[in-house]
């Protein structure tokens, strides 16, 4: 056993860090992140273009498709450095979600058509999975695609579609056939968001933010060559995508950065109880971090941790949520003035201490983390079945 990273890995880490601290990094993005100001759509594009300019965009892709071909340890270190440098999250919809599905199951034409734009961030993707009636029970989806010549006609609706308001394309699970088993008859379709018949309606979340949307499809014509793989195999592709190693799902480095901020805030408080809670969180975070490293070590050895990654999701979101509660506790009554966020997790009201304004925004925003991506209850069901065999 050896706890340390190899010299090559440490050198790699240094290179990433230097790149993120370098002058090419868009200064306006850095400044806004430092001040906790929300990023605009253009800011996000600038950031992703920067990542692409460093050749890092395909961080989890094989070299063959323009990716970096990095090892699991390198990917881990890369994402860690991004978080520690307070970068925005690399949007997963293109590079981590639809990209791998296209290069694994798509045909050559589709690869040529879509992959370069994903890497260059010329297209902003969003995900069309959830529907009003199907949350945790994804397979019960009802959005219909009917083949009509060389087009599908799509009708239905998707919901909780993150940043659909910015998106150029959406990848959708649609029902192409009604079958006995609800997992069958589902297909994986790529749809241009500019197609006539698509309507995007904002969903305002309890923190007042507009991050998610409903997307309505009314007789939307989708060229048949935008179907990935075979008709009726969509469920297989979706499962592949879900099982695709979800690096960074535990959110450890972001919590570390936030925890340091909290400790700075409370350093002068002399509040024994708050300090105790912070310490307990720190200890739980240390346990989670090393659990992630154990998973990483297993992946690096060629293993495929399945249900184990549910631990990272469950405990990671629990820790994130507890941390937001501690910020709220530290802010005390100054959580009261709140006029909704300017954007990502920041309140535009300046009353009271500076940190107070974002604490309640984060608290409310983070309630979603135990719901989406398979609720924590579903994750426990998965562990019960897959690991405990009950």
């Amino acid at each position: 056993m050896d706890i340390s990273f190899s010299d090559q890995d440490l050198q790699f880490q240094e290179e990433i860090r230097a790149g993120l601290n370098g002058s090419e990094y868009p200064a306006h993005v850095r400044e806004k992140r430092d001040k906790g100001i929300a990023l605009s759509k253009q800011d996000m594009i600038d950031f992703h273009k920067f990542i692409h300019s460093k050749g890092w965009m395909g961080y989890n892709w094989p070299v063959e498709y323009g990716g970096t071909g990095w090892s699991p340890v390198q990917i881990y270190l890369f994402l860690n450095e991004l978080a520690l440098a307070q970068c925005p999250t690399i949007l997963p919809f293109g590079v981590s979600m639809v990209g791998p599905v296209i290069y694994t199951f798509g045909n050559q034409e589709q690869k040529d058509r879509f992959l370069p734009d994903i890497l260059e961030f010329n297209t902003w993707w969003c995900q069309g999975y959830s529907e009003p009636g199907s949350g945790s029970d994804l397979a019960s989806l009802k959005t219909k695609a009917v083949l009509d010549g060389d087009h599908y006609i799509v009708n239905g609706s998707k919901t909780w579609t993150t940043l659909a308001q910015n998106a150029d394309w959406i990848f959708c699970l649609v029902r192409t056939e009604t079958t006995q088993k609800k997992q069958e008859g589902i297909s994986f379709l790529l749809i241009d968001m500019n197609s006539p018949g698509i309507e995007v309606k904002p969903i305002i979340t309890i923190d007042g933010d507009h991050e998610v949307n409903s997307v309505f499809f009314t007789d939307v014509k989708v060229p048949a060559d935008q179907l990935i793989g075979e008709e009726g195999k969509g469920w297989t592709y979706a499962k592949f995508l879900l099982a695709h190693e979800r690096f960074g799902i535990a959110g450890v480095p972001v919590v570390k950065v936030q925890l340091d901020k909290l400790k700075n805030i409370t350093a002068s408080y002399n509040d024994a109880d708050l300090n105790r809670k912070i310490t307990e969180l720190e200890i739980d975070l240390a346990a989670l971090e090393f659990t992630e490293l154990r998973t990483l070590a297993a992946i690096a050895e060629g293993g495929h941790p399945g249900a184990e990654s549910s631990i990272l999701k469950i405990r990671g979101t629990e820790i994130q949520q507890r941390l937001t509660e501690l910020f709220v506790e530290a802010a005390g009554q100054y959580i009261l003035p709140y006029e909704g966020p300017e954007g990502f997790e920041s309140n535009r009201t300046p009353a009271g201490p500076e940190y107070a304004s974002s604490s309640v925004a984060q608290y409310l925003n983070y309630r979603k983390t135990s719901i989406y991506g398979g609720s924590n209850e579903i994750q426990k069901n998965i562990i019960a079945k897959a690991i405990l065999g009950v």
Binding site: T205, D273, E329, Q333
Partner: protein
């Protein structure tokens, strides 16, 4: 021992319930929040007409001479519908202080509050003193025959609509409660929305001048009057929390019965059932402490203040648990601003932060 509400109290509850059913569904409430004043002037007029604004005041001052029990009945029902009208600030907080003061015009001020025409807000919080409100930095100084007020106050509920402010300040190193007019020179108000859809304001005083008549209470008298106001205010928002918890678990039970996943209502899942049982249990336990505190305050029991701290702790913990579970069990609907359920969570969060949070009252209970 008798823990039944009287017929009169039950009628009051029925009346509020009916009012909220008619005038306070979630859409109505959203419109109210979007209005300039942040509450409904029409509703407030109806509160006055129904006599609700007279509930806690003495008959001498035009009130009904009701006590804590009736206030908790009102607030429990307000909590169920998430009522945002400024009953707490104008009637409970400012009303309690006014009625306990020796202000020569107190009867006429109270009468104008009861009539619904007049709003008074109490300014008690300051930046940098946390929940130790009496350690205030805002100062009263004597200036010939009159007095000057300097400093700033924070988080003043309904500040934008207040005609007068009762201000907790320091005079000769002792607490003082003074009343000033919103129109007084040297006073400026910056107003914000609160996280749960109400309004609050930051007040700044630059040599705001007032006469000795405007001093409501000084020294120990001011302290005891202020603490009395805190006790009754905590009781009221706790009753509101009990109402909000009741709605939260009932709405959640309803939702899980209707929401189908994996071809069955999700209320079939035992983990969710037990979660809802926990919500129910916490609601009942909170209600118990709320009733205990009510009756102790009502009878002037010296233990009341300690029970109020216990209640605030229970409200903080139970509100968090009930609010968070309600959102979680509603799934995506829980975090949507267009559904009422997330607004209960916000209200619990706001209530915990007011007048000392959970941890503050654990310490206070101990000491």
């Amino acid at each position: 021992m008798n823990l039944n509400y009287s017929d009169e109290q039950n009628m009051l509850r029925e009346q509020v319930l009916k009012f909220c059913e008619t005038n306070y569904d979630f859409i109505d409430r959203e419109k109210i929040l979007d209005s300039d004043s942040g509450f409904s002037i029409d509703n407030w007029k109806q509160f006055a007409e129904l006599g609700w604004l007279a509930v806690p005041f003495k008959e001498d001052n035009g009130g009904f001479n009701f006590g804590p029990i009736e206030l908790t009945v009102l607030f429990e029902e307000f909590g169920k519908a998430l009522v945002v009208e400024p009953y707490l600030s104008s009637v409970v907080m400012s009303g309690t202080i006014l009625e306990g003061s020796n202000h020569p015009d107190k009867t006429s001020i109270i009468e104008s509050i009861i009539s619904g025409e007049h709003h008074v807000s109490t300014a008690y919080a300051e930046v940098n003193i946390g929940y130790n409100f009496l350690d205030c930095i805002t100062t009263v100084t004597k200036n010939g025959e009159s007095y000057n007020l300097n400093g700033s106050k924070s988080l003043v509920l309904n500040a934008i609509n207040a005609d007068q402010f009762i201000v907790l300040a320091s005079y000769d190193n002792a607490p003082a409660l003074v009343i000033i007019n919103a129109s007084d020179e040297g006073l400026s108000v910056q107003s914000f929305k609160t996280l749960d859809g109400q309004t609050c304001g930051e007040l700044t005083f630059e040599n705001v001048s007032f006469s000795s008549e405007s001093i409501l209470a000084l020294g120990e008298e001011a302290e005891s009057l202020f603490n009395k106001m805190l006790d009754i205010s905590i009781l009221c928002i706790s009753a509101e929390a009990v109402g909000a918890m009741t709605s939260s678990y009932m709405k959640t039970v309803q939702y899980t019965k209707e929401r189908e996943q994996f071809a069955q209502p999700i209320s079939n899942f035992q983990v969710l059932q037990h979660r809802m049982v926990d919500m129910f249990i916490e609601t009942e336990l909170t209600k118990s402490l709320m009733i205990k505190a009510t009756l102790q305050l009502d009878s002037g029991d010296p233990e009341a203040t300690k029970t109020i701290s216990a209640l605030k702790v229970q409200v903080g913990k139970a509100g968090r648990l009930v609010g968070q579970h309600a959102v979680q069990l509603h799934g995506g609907m829980g975090v949507s601003n267009e559904m009422s359920i997330g607004h209960y969570l916000k209200r619990f969060t706001a209530i915990d932060s007011m007048f000392g949070n959970t941890q503050y009252h654990i310490n206070k209970y101990q000491s």
